[in-house]
């Protein structure tokens, strides 16, 4: 499924280092270690309207117990 690009930086820093260097970059995925956080901006400019999924790539977190598929996933709906 096509996914809108996300850009991210460490939270609360506005995408810049202390010296003003730009820490912003574009990506489709974010990898976090334990206790880490990241801010991501999803820019829907030019993104085809539709439903996209935000989800973990750890398959063991994509089970919703008795509901089967689900878990750590949600929809991002882009409306025209």
């Amino acid at each position: 499924m096509e996914r809108p690009a996300a850009a991210r930086a460490r939270p609360g820093r506005g995408g810049r280092a202390a010296g003003g260097a730009n820490l912003y970059y574009s990506t489709n995925s974010v990898t976090l270690g334990g206790g880490e956080s990241a801010d991501a901006i999803i820019d829907t400019t030019g993104v085809q309207p539709g439903t996209y999924l935000l989800y973990t790539s750890n398959l063991n977190y994509l089970s919703n117990n008795q509901e089967d598929f689900g878990g750590m996933m949600t929809e991002i709906v882009v409306n025209p």
Binding site: G34, A38, A40, I41, T44, Y55, E67, M73, V77
Partner: protein, 131 residues
Amino acid sequence: MINGRGYPDNRPAGSLVPSADHTYVEAAQVAGGAALDRFNIAMSGMLSMDDGAYNDLDWFSARIRPPPRCGALPAASRTTSGRTCRSCWPATFRVPAVGDSFAIGKASQNVSTRIQATQGQKILLRISSWT
């Protein structure tokens, strides 16, 4: 979980029935034959062990709301006396009728996790890992 819930729980209407280990009263209804009054509430079911307390007695009646110190009775089984909580029954307490049935389970957060935007808008996400 996202926003306290898991996909696709943002699709069905209403809140989910949680798994049994997060349920305070697994099954509850007024037992027949009991002399029900404001001090004597009969019910079937079991206490969850996740905190060992009836935190939400409003499962029986929306009007029952004991204070936090109104904890679990150690031998709660088929008949539970509410005497330890009598000082906290509000005047609006409604005695359950024989045959009343109650919701099973504790509702999880009833907030949709779906994110919606109009094309061209930007969505800010803060993603955290606890593990």
